[in-house]
Symmetry: C3
């Protein structure tokens, strides 16, 4: 039995944001055991799993990704949507559009320090659509 749950996250500023609670709330209604596949339907944002406690990790990740995919590289041809757009595509490929997490009786089996991140790579990315598939 497959369940597909569609959610829309409000606009977040550029950066890495914890959304574990939003996902947990949705899973509570299903007493599922198996996997939760969480997928973002966008090409300039991603999903990842990392440190859920110290917010300086998320601060540093934002700046580290700016170094990995800088704005205004002289070879960029895809520039019409603003200087943050092409870096956002590169960063999205690096983190990926989905995370898959083992689930037991409706509870994600995350490690002690693991949280789920929305990785917003645009300055004004707008609302972001996510599909959770339980399998």
């Amino acid at each position: 039995m497959t369940s597909q749950i569609k959610i829309t996250l409000p606009q977040f500023p550029k950066g890495f944001h914890l959304i574990t609670t939003e996902i947990e709330k949705k899973l509570k209604d299903y007493n599922h055991t198996g996997l939760a596949h969480i997928f973002i339907q966008h090409t300039s944002a991603g999903l990842a799993i990392n440190e859920n406690a110290d917010p300086t990790v998320r601060h540093d990740l934002n700046l580290a990704f700016d170094k990995l995919a800088p704005e205004n590289m002289p070879f960029y041809k895809h520039t019409i949507e603003g200087p943050d757009d092409m870096p956002a595509h590169i960063k999205s490929i690096l983190v990926g559009p989905s995370v898959t997490v083992p689930v037991e009786n409706g509870k994600m089996l995350l490690g002690t320090w693991q949280g789920i991140y929305l990785c917003e790579f645009r300055e004004y990315g707008g609302a972001r659509k996510i599909i959770i598939t339980l399998i």
Copy 2:
């Protein structure tokens, strides 16, 4: 019920290439709801999801990945298969060998701008084998 579909893609030149249509064609025969896991059986190519419209995104990604994993780094020991080989392994780790996409009645639930990419990191990578698992 699990279905596993094996496909072979012809050789593509080094770069990022849209293969959404090839995958869609294979899914058409199955009225599947759940997930499609698409896996490449190689270590110097990868699969990713990104912008399906403007080809300059794929052009820029190719050059951005050349910056992330340059050829001829002085510390490389794995050099016998040519200057594009070790960078191809690094890039493959960065994008990953698989993408997983939610599917409803045989149709992938991709966002408006999302397409599936073959990321070919060798100059002459040859044909590439892919396994699609429907679950």
Copy 3:
């Protein structure tokens, strides 16, 4: 039917390490066809798939990742756990916490040159907990 198998890997030194055999041993007890999702419950280590033969690939990957996420970047705020900690978080996001592999009759359908890597990004990361979900 879902099976979840929990394993603990002993401490490995910083670097990329083949753990294909450890995973294969666990799958042998299940005559599974479908997917194996392998998930690490940590934020400073990851899992990946790459070259299973020449060990120089793993040597070069280690140094290439040190270039991608250097220690002691002046903007790092998350420094209390040592110079290798923030780079470990960045590298973990880049490789991801899980790999998903097609499986047929208990055998992973890896390509000829593919092996499963534990990517240990801390100098002394300790034992690492992994959950394999068969689906």
